[in-house]
Amino acid sequence: MEQNKINISIDNRPVSVNPGTTILDAAKSCGIEIPTLCHINLEGTCVNNHPASCRLCVVEVAGRRNLAPACATTCTEGMEVHTNTLRVLKARRTILELILSNHPHDCLICRKSGNCELQSLARKLKIHEAPFEGGEKSCHELDKSVSIVRDMNKCILCRRCETMCNDVQTVGAIGANGRGFNTTISPAFGLKLSESECTYCGQCVAVCPVGALTEVDNTNRLIKDLANPDKTVIVQTAPAVRVAIGEEFGLPAGTIVTGKLVSALRKLGFNYVFDTDFAADLTIMEEGSELLERLKKFLDGDKSVPMPILTSCCPAWVNFFEHQFPDMLDIPSTARSPQQMFGSIAKTYWAEKMGIPREQLVVVSVMPCLAKKYECGRDEFKVNGNPDVDYSLSTRELAALIKEANMDLKSMDDSDFDNPLGASTGASVIFGATGGVMEAALRTAYELYTGKTLDKVEFESVRGLEGIRHASVNLNGFELKVGIAHGLGNARRMLEDIRSGKSEYHAIEIMACPGGCIGGGGQPLHHGDVEIINARRKAVYEEDRNKPLRKSHENPYIQQLYEEFLGKPLSEKAHALLHTNYFNKSK
């Protein structure tokens, strides 16, 4: 027996675990999979929902009067646990039957069919009849926002979404209303999501085990556009998509499928396949220059310069501060997100070059994100009502479309992005992981500020999954202090420090989703497996290493864009096309 270990037995097997381990984790460590439904724990991040409310993980603990929830009961010395006695099996089955008795049985046409945790459990527990029919299935109207669809008839009240929205993201858009059997998860007073403070980060969708929360499906719209001979349809794909979409086709998490993805998009019928990474490099040029400009004024003693500067690539984060910190709208960078920079450049510079009229050009984006669907519809990003980016698809939607088109991503050949909007550097790829934008900015800012070449382009200190991270970089004797936060709860802490004058940072990167875009609300579902997030993160940095160019300002097509069209970063034209302003949306 090891010291400081807790020794218990599970199904008559001795198990030795660290103090504080739950029965669920102890069982997992010896290969016993206790079913769960409400529980989700992305270890190493702040995502942890263990209300012990679904009761599917109940087990028998010798000497205990009632059954214990394995997810929330910690092991104690000598504990004797049974996970599959008749009593447990009967309770577990009854509870699942009860949950199913208030859940529609329309799995065949459910968006989550095949990817639904409730469906999997019903299969695992061999539920083949419905003993508790009767009683009204709750009858809620479908709430369709621009990004997220809420079908509360399918909600099983696991409360994962509530935990994400309230505890992790601290947005507080949705929560439990009503009580008992009539409990519903919704914005306060039963308002629609669009009337709430929702940022459309999509983390509720990312953790919903059933079909209650899904994204707005734009695939049918895309199919029609692709079939329209009068339209030129071009696509941009975000950095985090290429390291995740393979999962939908059975590839291990973290498999880089950039070339296959390009082939698939081309085969789907897009006229041009471009890369959001190009726009990410452009973002670094603009945002990095803005940072240096503000920094220069600040160091020259101009106290009116708002410091620190905050990144603005993440549309959910933009929504968050517009709703919750309207007094600080002057702090974030005015640079548009890569998606919007791409759209803007595509419908001006590139369209002019190609001689395509704006109204005939359809710009589609494939994003790991649901807030992007909202972002491309913002009025600031339209010219005479025509949006720079027409609409956005999630990674999941694209995977579904590829499957529908009878293609298997795995067996596709590799091919390259079209140019000029397809060329990118390693700096842009790492935008997909938390800390990546900051690292990319540091690579460029360092060289532009110091005039020296970086020996080592990797800034390891800004990488990782810790909620808030910080680093300092020496710029010719000046210590540039940078911070990184991912998850809006961590962002809130950063902002509150800035508001109270406690923040010492010069620049802060913020991403709304835990892990950054690789953990976005539009990505293939991780079902609580943090290893998937880690694998995607590693893949992003691997893709960076594989790139011949790794600093945004070295991208030749970016240089060409400035020479031919924009002039220089922060020029008047750049301001008009690549920057934006923010609005007070507090309620």
């Binding site: 009767g134 009240l157 008992g180 409990t183």
Partner: protein, 635 residues
């Protein structure tokens, strides 16, 4: 004036004692001798009940009219009118008590005020028609001590209810109030205080019966600069009003007890979580807290000891589940009133994550007496494992509805037949429900079990917070189970699946049974479901929610079987199984029933026998209430 020392406190007690001495029931009055001012006394006190129940029956108006009348006779200097808390005998309320004449007037109306003054106070004669009539002997009884309702009671938690003016802290002090607090903070260490509570054997009166001293000890051992003492006044059982009556009748006992606990566990802050629909209790608590502040019995540096304690009131919105301590704490924090898994226990992580000790109102009310009379005295009352007394709200088909307090170990039979005066209208006893919606229904065979935590639990019910509802042969036990389950479905917070959905499904099965569509399989399904809900729910509410169904299934299975097999309800409560029938030999053909039937379901010529068409009948009962010859019955 602030009380600085024990002497100051004793001085106030001495000053107030005279007023209270008049209320001692020294010589039980039996004869018809003179009373009132005629007797030569120059100080009389008229106590009127100021509890919510009597107030609803105009007791405030009664007091006002008595005062007016006293003025008319010019005797207002000699006769005081004092509003007290609940006397307990609610069946006979409003109560007016005249002291020192030891006269207990019942069912007093505002119109009776003048007579009480004129006859009793001035004329020296008791108002006979307002006296209690013993149902067995038919003799009138002057004083409460000679009423069966009070004879077996031992009032500890209710000691001051119906005796003192709850809005006058000095009367509480005259009853040794705040002496226990003074004793604790001046002469005892916190550990000694906890030891006294432990030795008394006091267990939580909120229902679960956890030893109070142990609970305090856990909280005292939690290391934290900030701790909280919470009074759980979220009384939620249907029909229960013990806690309300204590808050209305003796608010200072709660305040004193909480301060003692604060000293024992190292807490400076007290919170009372009371439901907002108890406005009178809130008013009395606020008044008491204000007066305690004025006297320095709350606030900083109490009695110069350096011990500081303060209490604020938090309002609940009336959710049953908020009586569960973790849900209560969340509600106080402004969050949704939902329980969370224990551990962590509130003693470790409670209100705002600080160590918190939560006790129920009745538990608190016992604390000061334990210090006044000693833990051994308290432990001498009751049974081996259940010490002291328990307050019950006696309700249902019983003659003496009201609030009673009996020593643990008293039998249900004694409570129902002696204190309660038996079943109303001479009907037959069928069941008694204890423990509220979490309790169970006990039968004739359980009547001689002693009332204590273990015995009630073993019999399939529970002590609960003290609701006791008596049922007679007219109660359908399926309907009773359905009533309680309906309450649970309404009050379930909705967090865990078994309670949220399981109870709803059980209720639907009961609906089906009372609608005459039940099957024998439904009974098995009910039982299976109930056992899973009990075994797998998250909090105490869910784990005990199937008890009314399980206990009725166990004790009245034959009645369930009649419902599902014969489609018969012996209590004649399930309308689906009953028909209105015209007895041919009684019907004279007056046609009144047919004339009043709203759906023309009754046919028959004048002076001929009438018949009800059961297909058309909507079972409204209009025919039966219109038949002068009682020829229509429900079968």
């Amino acid at each position: 004036m602030k009380i600085q020392t024990l002497k100051d406190l004793e001085k106030i007690k001495a000053e107030s004692l005279a007023s209270l001495e008049l209320r001692n029931e020294v010589a039980p009055d039996t004869g018809d001798e003179t009373c009132g001012l005629e007797k030569g006394t120059d100080h009389i006190q008229i106590l009127t009940c100021g509890g919510t129940g009597c107030k609803a029956s105009d007791s405030a108006e009664i007091a006002a009219r008595i005062k007016d009348c006293l003025k008319q006779f010019g005797v207002e200097d000699k006769v005081e009118v004092i509003t007290t808390g609940c006397f307990g005998f609610c069946e006979k309320g409003p109560i007016v008590k005249v002291m020192p004449d030891n006269t207990f007037y019942t069912k007093v109306k505002p119109e009776d005020a003048a007579e009480i003054v004129k006859e009793h106070i001035i004329g020296g004669r008791r108002v006979q028609r307002l006296l209690y009539i013993d149902p067995e002997t038919n003799a009138s009884v002057n004083d409460s001590k000679h009423m069966n309702f009070y004879r077996k009671q031992v009032r500890i938690a209710l000691r001051n209810c119906g005796l003192i003016d709850p809005e006058n802290i000095r009367e509480y002090i005259a009853r040794d109030g705040y002496m226990s607090l003074a004793d604790c903070i001046l002469t005892k260490t916190p550990a000694e205080v906890i030891d006294v509570v432990k030795r008394s054997g006091l267990r939580g009166r909120g229902g679960a019966g956890f030893p109070t001293g142990n609970k305090w000890e856990f909280a005292s051992k939690s290391n934290s600069d900030i701790k909280y003492v919470v009074c759980n006044a979220d009384e939620g059982d249907p029909g229960a009003f013990m806690d309300r009556s204590i808050m209305e009748g003796d608010p200072n006992s709660i305040i004193e007890a909480m301060a003692i606990c604060g000293y024992a566990i190292g807490a400076k802050y007290g919170l009372i979580y009371v439901r907002a629909e108890y406005p009178l209790a809130i008013h009395r608590l606020k008044t008491a807290i204000g007066q305690a502040h004025e006297l320095g019995l709350l606030g900083d540096n109490i009695l110069g000891t350096g011990f500081s304690f303060d209490i604020t009131i938090r309002y609940g919105a009336g959710a049953f589940v908020c009586g569960e301590e973790t849900a209560l704490i969340h509600s106080m924090e402004g969050k949704r009133g939902e329980p969370t898994l224990k551990p962590p226990f509130p003693a470790v992580e409670g209100y705002r994550k600080y160590p918190t000790n939560v006790n129920n109102v009745e538990t608190w009310a016992n604390i000061p007496v334990i210090f006044q009379k000693g833990p051994d005295w308290f432990a001498s009352i009751g049974t081996e494992k259940s010490k002291g007394t328990k307050v019950f709200a006696l309700a249902g088909k019983i003659n003496n509805v009201g609030l009673i307090e009996v020593p643990m170990g008293t039998t249900l039979r004694e409570v129902i037949y002696e204190i309660g005066g038996g079943i109303k209208n001479g009907k037959k006893f069928k069941a008694v429900q204890t423990g509220g919606p979490s309790g169970g229904c006990l039968t004739e065979k359980h009547l001689d079990i002693p009332i204590d935590y273990e015995s009630l639990g073993a019999a399939g019910s529970m002590m609960g917070s003290g609701g006791m509802i008596v049922m007679d042969e007219d109660n359908c036990m399926v309907q009773v189970a359905r009533f309680y389950l309906g309450f649970i479905v309404e009050e379930s917070c909705g967090k865990c699946a078994p309670c949220r959905i399981g109870n709803k499904r059980m209720l639907e099965i009961l609906d089906k049974i009372v609608a005459g569509k039940g099957t024998v399989e439904d009974l098995d399904k009910l039982e299976d479901l109930a056992n899973v809900i009990k075994d797998a729910s998250l909090c105490g509410l869910g784990q005990t929610s199937p008890n009314p169904v399980l206990s009725t299934l166990a004790n009245f299975r034959d009645e369930y079987m009649e419902h599902v097999v014969e489609k018969k309800c012996r209590a004649k409560q399930c309308m689906s199984m009953l028909n209105y029938i015209i007895e041919p030999d009684r019907c004279v053909g007056c046609h009144l029933c047919a004339k009043n039937c709203p759906v023309e379901a009754i046919s028959g010529e004048l002076k001929q026998k009438h018949v009800i068409d059961q297909q058309k009948c909507i079972k409204c009962g209009t025919c039966m209430s219109n038949c002068r010859l009682h020829a229509i019955s429900l079968k």
